[in-house]
């Protein structure tokens, strides 16, 4: 078996293992071992990938495997990875591993919880390795649907409302994607031969500009819904706030990245001319996302809402960077996906742990937690500093790259948009420092809090892994950004060829 299929097989085997587990302890250990193996597999994949590249294998995709599935429709099980997808797989493996430990003490229906959670991650892994649009879409939907049950059953607050809203809005996005994919399929061979769903094959075809312009909005908005593109972001705050800890982590950390990944891998890569012509609309929308999300976070009092709005802002920055159409900015976009993925997972994990102790998420009701739970407090500060882009952490690397890339576009429109986006950093600093100040510093305003304990071992595992990720990227970003920008080559090339200035 090839290494990529392993990423689907391991979760499936884990799920089967969980089904046959007897008690709660066995269930969670099976899940942890399975996802631990997945993390090892991801690390192996990264090493193998770098070795191949070093050995001079410059093929667009590595570890390609092609099995015919539906011969008559030319649907394949076609998988392969480039630098970007390898990085995303690494991210997913880290977040899901941390997520398992963050949900160590799920209250009820443990078995079902871990099965659904791992099913969701299967969809995500499958999405990142697929090169066939049909399988890509299939995995995309597999990743979306378990959310309904996860939020609906194990969530808090208005969970039924949030779960339904989230599911329907994301499925609405997938409706747009479906139309776009069918449009690509039926235009994948203008000379009238065999049609194909293969991403690589379609990327070699020149689709007429008029057709591109028709389908580009379907695909970009479709994936954009999942990437919290304004004004389709409203599912995100509600969904994240109601979701249980591990689900918020996985959702904000990984699932929202599916949107950004799909935007450039499918929409921009396959329809470059349309991307050039219609990009300005989405640049406006993403600029609004960034600022609106940041400002939204300032007004919120609920920790989860703060983080959810900050996710809207950060994910908006990903989409914004993709639309800058140059290598630096796009590398920044992928870096931002990874950095934000780990960072926001860390935040949600910590929020979950704090909530588990204080039973409130309103910042005004808390204070001085640093004295009571120093480990969690420090972790929160680290996450916060990474979020506002302090050098030494992953956030700085990503955002700096984005802004440098964005500034390469010299016309006024891009400049103005870039400046607005850059200014969001200030707003980010405001809400991060405000939360840290109220929540962690100051004096303890509730005597009950004085007896709360610090993190348990499994919580330390969870946060430790994530903090390691943030600082590793922050301190040694070069290997990662090189790996990513290597994968972006073909996309940039295609964009340049389509560029009107060229």
């Amino acid at each position: 078996m090839d290494i990529l299929t392993l990423f689907i097989v391991i979760p499936v085997l884990t799920i089967i293992g969980i089904v046959f587990s007897k008690d709660h302890k066995q269930v969670k250990w099976t899940a942890a071992i399975g996802m631990g193996l997945q993390l090892i597999a991801a690390a192996t994949l990264i090493i193998l990938f770098l070795m191949e590249r070093k050995a001079g294998n410059m093929a667009e995709m590595l570890f390609v495997k092609d099995l015919v599935w539906f011969p008559s429709l030319n649907i394949h099980y076609l998988i392969g990875v480039d630098g970007v997808s390898v990085a995303m797989i690494g991210l997913t493996a880290i977040v899901i591993f941390a997520g398992i430990f963050a949900s160590w003490e799920v209250e009820e229906l443990h078995k079902e919880f871990f099965i659904t959670l791992i099913l969701l991650s299967t969809g995500v892994f499958g999405f990142f390795i697929s090169l066939d649009l049909f399988t890509l879409f299939l995995f995309y939907e597999i990743a979306v649907i378990p959310m309904y049950l996860l939020i609906g059953i194990w969530g808090s607050g208005p969970r039924e409302y949030s779960a339904m809203k989230l599911t329907l809005m994301l499925m609405g996005g997938s409706a747009l994607i479906l139309v776009g994919l069918l449009g690509l399929y039926f235009n994948s061979n203008p000379s009238g031969g065999q049609l194909t769903f293969s991403l690589l094959a379609i990327s070699k075809v020149h689709i007429p500009v008029e057709i591109q312009k028709f389908f580009f909005p379907f695909l970009f908005i479709g994936f954009g819904v999942l990437g919290a593109l304004f004004p389709f972001h409203t599912w995100s705050p509600d969904g994240h706030a109601s979701a249980p800890t591990a689900v918020s982590m996985l959702h904000a950390g990984v699932l929202m990245k599916l949107g950004g990944y799909g935007c450039f891998r499918v929409a921009v890569f396959l329809l470059p001319e349309a991307a050039h012509e219609l990009g300005w609309i989405f640049i406006i929308l993403t600029t609004i996302s960034v600022i609106y999300g940041a400002l939204g976070a300032v007004w919120q009092k609920d920790l989860k809402y703060i983080n959810a709005y900050s996710s809207v802002s950060h994910c908006g920055m990903v989409l914004f960077a993709i639309l800058m159409f140059n290598k630096t900015a796009m590398t920044g976009a992928v870096l931002q996906m990874i950095s934000h993925g780990i960072m926001t997972a860390l935040f949600f994990a910590l929020i979950g742990m704090i909530y588990g102790r204080t039973h409130t998420r309103y910042i005004n009701e808390m204070g001085g937690l640093m004295k009571v739970m120093p480990f969690l407090g420090v972790a929160y500060v680290i996450g916060g500093l990474a979020s506002l882009g302090l050098p030494g952490f992953s956030g700085f690397v990503a955002e700096m790259t984005i802004f440098v890339g964005a500034f390469q576009n010299v016309d006024t429109f891009h400049r103005v948009a870039t400046i607005i986006v850059v200014s969001s950093i200030v707003v980010t600093a405001v809400y991060i420092l405000r939360v840290v100040g109220i929540l962690l510093l100051g004096k303890i305003n509730n005597e009950h809090y004085e007896h709360l304990g610090d993190a348990k071992w499994y919580e330390r595992v969870s946060t430790g892994v994530l903090i390691f990720g943030i600082t590793a990227i922050g301190l040694a970003p070069l290997w990662l950004s090189e790996m990513i920008s290597g994968g972006l080559g073909p996309i940039i090339q295609r964009l340049l060829m389509a560029s009107p200035i060229h």
Binding site: E141, Y148, E160, T167, M171, G172, L178, G183
Partner: protein, 469 residues
């Protein structure tokens, strides 16, 4: 003989069951259940053995490999319905009529088989009537229940009306072309006004049978009143057979005016999906709910028909196959709950997962398949239907259809929500399902999971449909 083997086998087992039924004493009628199911299983298996195909009676009757497959699909569906009916048939009210149930149901199936195989309008009409009239007795099977009796009467009236309309159309076709044989009608068909009128009457008549909007109003009441297993038969098998012949006739007889019926179907399809979905959302009775959802599903099937190609034909047959397994899965769970507890409201399903996890999971799988969620078969079925329509460049129609799948997802999720999310002080208590029900549901689950992944199924249908369009 061999060409007509499906029908002849069914006639044979119908007669056998009738005879056995006569000689069984009054209190031993339930002994017929096992032989009935075994015989039906036997017929289903024999049906899959490849055999000759061809034309009989000078073209009145004809089969092709694809038509044989359609009959096999219907056989599988009926077999599953038989297994699902057992616990209901064993109830006190039905005890004495068990034999009749099987015999009547089989005779409608024979009618459907003849209808699908017809090569002229006469045979088609005969088959249609044989398939419809016994259904009314089935709908009124629980004759002491007011609603069931009402359903029977409603069904017979609406079928009579729709048959009348249909027949009127057929008579006009005969009047303008001078023949009832499909190939000859097709050759003689032009777009004369009377012929177009004839087509419209034909279309309306068929739309009644498939319950397309705006000819769907009978469906909800009949589905609600009829016993739940009969409802599943009506909404799955009966509808599937009607879709098959409708597609065959559109493609082989009315192929010359395809440009015209394409527009009609375009509009009807949108109406059917949308209205079916909007009404389904408001239903609290599980039977009515599934009735409206099956109306909406019929709208999706039209997308394949509009595809007008080998691809379209294949996707329709494939989708009906998937639809049979999915819908019967949902109906099977509803049926066993109804016969064990008498509860038929979605509100009663609150907290079902905690008391009857297996049933809830089956229901969820079936509903996800109906909604078209991967990785279950419904996703593949819907995706291919959309592909067929997109092939004609009808992206707007596809988009509307996909939006409709989201609406449908909403109400399917409402049931999932009741079972998994809601808590109840008086949930349906745990009960053990009988062997037959388990078998039937297991078949549904197997179908729902396997048919999608197993691409050979799709490729097989595609191969059979070659050259038919």
């Amino acid at each position: 003989m061999l060409i007509m083997r499906h029908e002849l086998l069914l006639v044979a087992i119908t007669v056998i069951l009738l005879l056995v039924e006569i000689f069984l004493p009054q209190d031993k009628k339930h002994k017929i259940i096992l032989p009935a199911i075994l015989l039906m299983a036997l017929v289903t298996i024999i049906g899959f053995i490849p055999g000759p195909t061809g034309v009989l009676f000078g073209g009145m009757y004809g089969t092709s490999p694809l038509i044989l497959l359609m009959k096999n699909i219907l056989n599988i569906g009926v077999l599953i319905i038989f297994t699902q009916s057992v616990s209901w048939l064993k109830l006190e009210e039905q005890k004495e009529k068990i034999g009749e149930y099987f015999v009547i149901l089989l005779s409608t199936l024979i009618g459907m088989d003849y209808m699908i195989s017809s090569g002229d309008f006469l045979m088609f009409y005969l088959g249609l009537e044989l398939a419809t009239i016994p259904l009314a007795t089935l709908a009124a099977f629980e004759r002491f229940k007011e609603k069931s009796a009402e359903a029977g009467v409603k069904l017979i009236f609406t079928s009579a009306l729709s048959s009348g309309i249909l027949l009127y159309g057929l008579s006009m076709i005969y009047g303008t072309t001078g023949t009832v044989y499909f190939p000859e009608v097709s050759a003689a068909y032009a777009s004369a006004p009377l012929q177009i009128l004839a087509f419209i009457f034909f279309f309306a008549g068929m739309a009644f049978k498939i319950s397309l909007v705006p000819f769907h109003l009978w469906a909800a009441d009949v589905y609600e009143g009829a016993p739940i297993n009969v409802t599943s038969y009506l909404s799955v098998i009966s509808k599937g057979a009607a879709v098959f012949i409708f597609m065959i006739i559109l493609y082989t007889v009315f192929n010359k005016i395809a440009l015209m019926w394409r527009d009609v179907i375009y509009v009807i399809s949108i109406l059917t999906m949308t209205l079916g979905n909007l009404f389904a959302m408001r239903q609290r009775n599980i039977k009515r709910f599934l009735a409206f959802s099956s109306i909406a599903q019929a709208g999706f099937i039209l997308l394949g028909i509009i595809g007008q190609s080998q691809l379209g034909m294949t996707t329709v047959v494939y989708f009906v196959l998937v639809y049979i397994f999915s819908n019967l899965g949902a109906f099977g769970v509803a049926a066993i709950i109804s016969s064990k507890t008498g509860k038929e409201s979605i509100d009663d399903y609150d907290g079902l997962y905690r008391t009857n996890p297996m049933l809830s999971l089956t229901m969820m799988l079936a509903l996800f398949s109906l909604a078209g969620i991967p990785p279950v078969a419904g996703f593949f079925g819907k995706f291919f239907l959309f592909t067929a329509a997109a092939k004609q460049g009808m992206y707007i129609l596809v988009f509307i259809a996909v939006l409709n799948t989201i609406i449908s997802l909403y109400y399917y999720l409402l049931v999932v929500k009741a079972m998994f999310l809601n808590q109840s002080d008086r949930p349906i208590t745990y009960f053990k399902s009988d062997v037959y029900t388990k078998l039937g549901l297991a078949m549904c689950i197997a179908g729902i999971i396997i048919i999608g992944f197993a691409s050979p199924v799709y490729e097989f249908i595609l191969k059979l449909s070659y050259g038919l369009y």
